[in-house]
């Protein structure tokens, strides 16, 4: 019995060494080829700087469109379009990257009309342009969408009302199949962050086929990529097929089961390692950004430095019996402050706040304190005459940023 066990142990060890040697060889070949492979191909590039207009551009409903030294400067008081027609994209592409600068954050849309479509309707893909002093790259991973047509007659941007931006350049890129394989491998090991939905579900590995797509992998809901588990199921399918063939051809039931079981164990462990590392990355991120930081430097997950702000505000809030809150839409201030401040009662917006001694204003630019110490609400900052007195007289006892403060009523 003991000799049989030793024999089994030896055979497993030898087989494992064979297995490992073969895989190391393949991995070395792949890595060598990857390193020596050419970088992504820049298929086409449009620069709009220095008053250049390398492509025919059509606009509709936009207030102002002008060529400047910095790029195309667009102002939209109403929703409008900027379309590049007679599309000269020479071949299939994977990613369109636009270098855009804007002073405000807003959601725009990338639009296109497939070559064979006769109706005037366009496909639209929303994307966010974030406020920034420097131009940022906005990547449109067109390869992901089955209805994207590189031979499209026209494509361009939907620009929402009350927005302004400068488009510096547009580049069209693609990657070779092997590079996509490498990017797919990298995206398999690209982890999501701990977000509010992480307690409800975990995306798991999502496969993207380009660096720009991988960089923004989990920024969209759902992510623009393919479930990595499809690969696992393919491998399992192959193993089942192989097992079936072995069973039918050599009638070796044990070998068939061994192939299927070994494949299953292998993909399970890989999935387990991948998900385990992701959960550990959540913890490491928290430790780095919150636990090891102090004061305003503390940020946590999707809440930025929110906890630093409310931790500073809470001691003051708790000195009162009640307070009222004005915070931005969809903000997290209400549930947190209601819970953290209790038993200090939170009077929500919409309820009568007469006599409430403390006003907590967070991320609401329309609230200001005038020179007489009254809290004002100015719905339209361009028209100060719309200001109305909300409370006071009183004073600001804590200021966090220009739109966030605690106001005490005397």
């Amino acid at each position: 019995m003991l000799q049989q066990k030793d024999k089994l142990h030896d055979s497993v060890r030898d087989a494992t060494m064979q297995f490992v040697r073969l895989r190391v060889l393949i991995a070395t070949l792949l890595l060598g080829t990857a390193v020596s492979a050419h970088a992504e191909e820049l298929t086409m590039y449009w620069s709009f700087k220095n008053n250049q207009m390398p492509v025919q551009t059509t606009t509709a409903h936009l207030t102002k469109v002008e060529q400047t030294s910095e790029g195309i400067h667009v102002i939209a008081q109403k929703e409008g379009f900027l379309i590049w027609q007679d599309n000269p994209i020479p071949r299939h592409i994977d990613v369109i990257t636009m270098k855009i600068r804007s002073a405000t954050t807003f959601q725009a849309g990338f639009m296109w009309k497939p070559k064979d479509q006769h109706s005037d309707s366009l496909y639209r893909l929303p994307f966010v342009i974030r406020a920034s002093e420097i131009a940022q790259d906005v990547h449109i991973n067109v390869n992901y969408f089955s209805n994207w047509d590189w031979q499209t007659k026209a494509f361009g941007l939907l620009i929402p009302a009350n927005s302004e931006l400068i488009i510096e350049d547009v580049s069209f890129r693609r990657w070779s199949p092997f590079e996509k394989l490498i990017e797919g491998w990298k995206s398999f090991w690209t982890f999501d962050n701990y977000r509010a939905y992480s307690i409800n579900f975990l995306w798991g590995p999502i496969i993207a086929t380009s660096g720009p797509a991988r960089a923004v992998l989990y920024n969209n809901l759902p992510p623009y990529g393919w479930f990595g588990s499809h690969i696992f199921y393919s491998l399992l399918g192959l193993a089942l097929l192989a097992g079936l063939c072995i069973r039918l051809v050599s009638r070796n039931k044990e070998l068939a089961l061994g192939v299927i079981a070994a494949t299953f164990v292998g993909i399970w462990m890989m999935f387990d390692v991948r998900m385990g590392l992701e959960l550990m990355s959540y913890a490491f991120d928290d430790i780095q950004t919150y636990v090891l930081q102090e004061g305003e430097e503390q940020t946590l997950r999707t809440h930025g430095n929110f906890y630093a702000v409310i931790n500073e505000a809470l001691p003051a809030i708790r000195m009162y019996d009640s307070f009222t809150l004005r915070s931005g839409p969809n903000s997290v201030y209400y549930p947190h402050l209601r819970y953290q401040a209790y038993p200090t009662k939170l009077i929500p917006e919409g309820e009568d706040a007469t006599g409430v001694p403390l006003w907590a204003i967070f991320e609401r630019r329309e609230f200001v304190v005038d020179e007489e110490g009254y809290l004002l609400r100015i719905p339209d900052r361009a028209h100060p005459e719309t200001a109305e007195r909300i409370a006071g007289p009183g004073k600001v006892i804590m200021q966090f940023d220009p739109s966030s403060f605690l106001y005490e009523v005397r």
Binding site: K5, L8, H9, S11, V12, D14, A15, Q18, F19, A196, Y197, S198, I199, N200, F201, L202, W203, G204, F227, S229, H230, L236, N252, E254, L255, A256, L257, G258, V259, I260, A261, A262, F264, I267, W268, F271, D272, M275, G276, E278, L279, M280, Y282, A283, F284, D286, I287, Y290, V291, L300, R301, H303, Y307, P335, H336, R338, Y339, Y342, K345, L346
Partner: protein, 482 residues
């Protein structure tokens, strides 16, 4: 402050342990560690139930004095009964023969245990202790209610800043067990200390692991018991729930013993042991309505159905006396009535609902688009469960006799509840919970220990062919390599 966690667990655990010991009588069926783990889980819930009864019936405020008094009275009463029944010194039930593990298996177990421990420790400490409350339901329900009870020293149904008429029908319709546990720890500490009150969630997670291990050891060797425990501990979404401040791992900690004890009872060959298991199962089932509303609506009915069918089959096969079957049913009815009725009466008197913050009455029935795809993605494609459910499907096909006959109580329970959940999502206005994946996976989290138990037991029964398969593959690879 964290030192108060083990201190605060001692009295409820003792109460739970004594209750379980009394229920087993002279026929000890629980292993030593199993009884402590189950005692901790059930004891905490039992103490909170007693506290609710004391508060609603006698007007006792929810403070340290009354928490202590309730637990002291329970300890004295249960201790007295335990002593009077002569149960002192009875050994725990033995485990099955663990078998000797070959070196590679021991090494694999050590590696898996280390990998599991690192994750659980890192996630548990970071999410529960080192970082503040972040999740919506914790802010709006579990922690909020606990804090309100702590401050008000009462079972306040109207949450701060909410409409006094509508508010009780919201989160206050949930059983107050989890919030009261937090209130208990805050009461001991004298302050609302978030790391302390949040850290209790790891207790339910670890206790469940212990219970799953013990249950598997009852039927299999160390290798399979450890493997099954590892699978559960490392299930990504279950680990998230176990190390965060949601209540679904807490529910799982109650559903598992309720089903597992019933399973053991129906399998047991010894009449005395069988009745012991029935009493334990009845006790655990009786606590289910006090966990979440699903306890009454989704879990208790299939448990009772399986009980009745199981008893019928046992009596018909003459493996069980009719008198014993009637006794078992009486225990279930008695304990469920004793434990569940107080809370259900309280709900009825205060007009609380039975849905999950939404009433289930008045839901229209009709096909809901998009839900099938959400179910498919959530169960098979995302990272929530690794390949547990494809494995379950494969085992249901390959070893259907094992799954649906030998382990019928587990499989039937799981599939009834799963289909019940799917029905609700596919045909009612609760479909957005599935499409948006807000409530979908959490129902599975509550069932996961049962699924892992089922899958591991079936795999253990397939050990011989699997081992032959691996041996044959190794031989083939060696021959080809040589």
């Amino acid at each position: 402050m964290l030192l108060l966690l083990p201190i605060g667990l001692i009295p409820p655990t003792l109460i739970g342990w004594l209750t379980l010991a009394i229920l087993q009588g002279k026929s000890r069926v629980l292993q030593r560690s199993e009884q402590w783990a189950l005692g901790c889980v059930t004891g905490l819930s039992l103490v909170m139930l007693l506290m609710v009864i004391a508060h609603t019936t006698f007007g006792a405020p929810i403070n340290l004095l009354w928490f202590t008094a309730v637990q002291l009275i329970a300890l004295i009463a249960l201790g007295g009964i335990w002593h009077a029944l002569g149960l002192k010194g009875l050994p725990g039930a033995p485990m099955s023969d663990g078998g000797t593990l070959p070196r590679w298996a021991r090494l694999t177990l050590v590696l898996l245990a280390a990998w599991m421990t690192i994750r659980v420790l890192l996630a548990g400490v970071t999410f529960l202790v080192l970082t503040p409350t972040y999740l919506d339901d914790t802010l709006d329900n579990w922690n909020l209610r606990g804090k309100v009870y702590f401050v008000d020293q009462a079972l306040t149904l109207v949450m701060p800043s909410e409409d006094p008429i509508a508010s009780p029908r919201g989160v206050s319709s949930y059983p107050p067990t989890v919030p009261l546990v937090k209130t208990w720890f805050a009461t001991i500490a004298g302050t609302w200390d978030e790391p302390l009150i949040n850290s209790v969630h790891i207790v339910w997670f670890l206790s469940t692991l212990c219970l799953v291990y013990a249950m598997l050891r009852r039927f299999t060797g160390i290798w399979w018991a450890a493997l099954g425990t590892y699978i559960l501990a490392c299930m990504p979404l279950y680990l998230m729930h176990g190390t965060n401040t949601y209540a679904d791992a807490f529910v799982a900690a109650h559903v598992f013993p309720a089903v597992a004890m019933l399973f053991c009872a129906l399998r047991s060959e010894d009449a005395h042991a069988r009745l012991s298991f029935f009493r334990l199962g009845a006790f655990c089932a009786g606590l289910l309505p006090f966990t979440k509303n699903e306890g009454v609506l989704l879990y208790l009915p299939p448990i009772l159905l399986i009980l009745c069918i199981g008893l019928f089959l046992l009596v018909r096969a003459q493996k069980m006396a009719l008198r014993d079957a009637v006794t078992a049913i009486a225990w279930y009815i008695g304990l469920i009535a004793l434990l569940a009725l107080p809370w259900l009466i309280f709900k009825w008197l205060n007009g609380l609902t039975f849905g999950n913050a939404k009433s289930v009455s008045g839901l229209n029935i009709g096909w809901q688009n998009g839900v099938w795809y959400a179910l498919y993605v959530n169960t098979f494609l995302e990272g929530n469960w690794l390949f547990l459910f494809p494995l379950l499907v494969m085992l249901c096909v390959w070893k259907w006799r094992l799954v649906f006959r030998q382990y019928a109580p587990l499989s039937v329970f799981f599939f009834i509840v799963l289909l019940g959940q799917w029905f609700i999502f596919l045909f009612t206005g609760l479909a957005p919970e599935a499409r948006m994946q807000t409530g979908l996976a959490r129902g599975i989290v509550q069932l996961l220990p049962v699924v892992v138990l089922l899958v591991t037991l079936v795999l253990a029964d397939c050990a011989q062919p699997l081992q032959s398969g691996f041996n044959e593959l190794a031989r083939k690879l060696k021959r080809n390599g040589g």
